[in-house]
Symmetry: C2
Subunit: 127 residues, 2 copies
DNA sequence: AATATAATTCAATTTATATTGAACTATTAA
DNA sequence: TTAATAGTTCAATATAAATTGAATTATATT
């Protein structure tokens, strides 16, 4: 019988992504960026973190592809960060696939005591 | 104008949750549990980790509410872990709310150079 | 040309937490 | 009643990564 396994590749992609958003300051930064606060200085001050630390976390978010950056066309000293819509949607669908109820499989009976009962249940694939 | 802000409480719940699943071994454990591998020994051996380390990560998953545990009714030495469906669904909806496209707000213009252009754009709430 | 500003980069330090090994608990089997 | 098995707990160590401060880059202003 074929398992509804998440592919190794999908899983390693998901792991990378979750490591990025698993850091509290980064999810807080994403929250601000999504809600329209988008330059380093305001992001940092609104979360009470130093500019260099803000830069550090923003660069990790940027490397992951979750956010974009662009310089102000009028005054190039300012850089604005914004959410990458497509990356965000890809991430959501990866998460929803991973945590899909249909993937939930009853316990495989390779572990546990060897009993008649067990073997019957195994055949029936019963939880 | 009212912001579509994620509440502080929702955000701190989400952060807790993401810290738990942001650790690679734990998402790998969840993957195995979801797909039906559910005792410590098999979970550990399938991911090549020591039993005590498996225990450690399982206890963090358990504390988060994402998984349940129960002893084998026939042989109480065996403990089986399973996904907590409700917790999983709550987490998914928290993630989907956080990453809701409708929350995406264009850049607030409190940062950046002071120009006529800017003020006009600000009033128009234009990206 | 010299100075100021927004942001980044680099090196050093700190902190959190994953990992390891040993001892322990709970349960079952001999 | 002794030994074996599945799993947990504890203390110590190792590792990864967050944080900090100083120096640097890129751009704009005076």
């Amino acid at each position: 019988m074929e398992d509804k396994n998440y592919s190794e590749k999908d899983l390693s992609e998901l792991i990378k992504c979750l490591k990025v958003i698993g850091e509290p300051k980064r999810i807080m930064l994403l929250d601000k960026i999504i809600s329209g606060v988008q330059c380093n200085c305001e992001l940092g001050s609104s979360l009470q973190m130093a500019a260099n630390l803000t830069s550090h976390h923003l660069s990790i978010l940027k490397d992951s592809g979750l956010i974009n950056s662009e310089r102000d066309p009028v005054d190039g000293r300012w850089i604005y960060y914004s959410i990458n819509l497509e990356a965000m949607q890809d991430m959501k669908s990866a998460l929803n696939s991973f945590f899909d109820e249909k993937r939930i499989h009853p316990r495989r009976l390779s572990c546990g005591p060897q009993t008649e009962e067990k073997n019957i249940l195994d055949v029936l694939n019963f939880k």
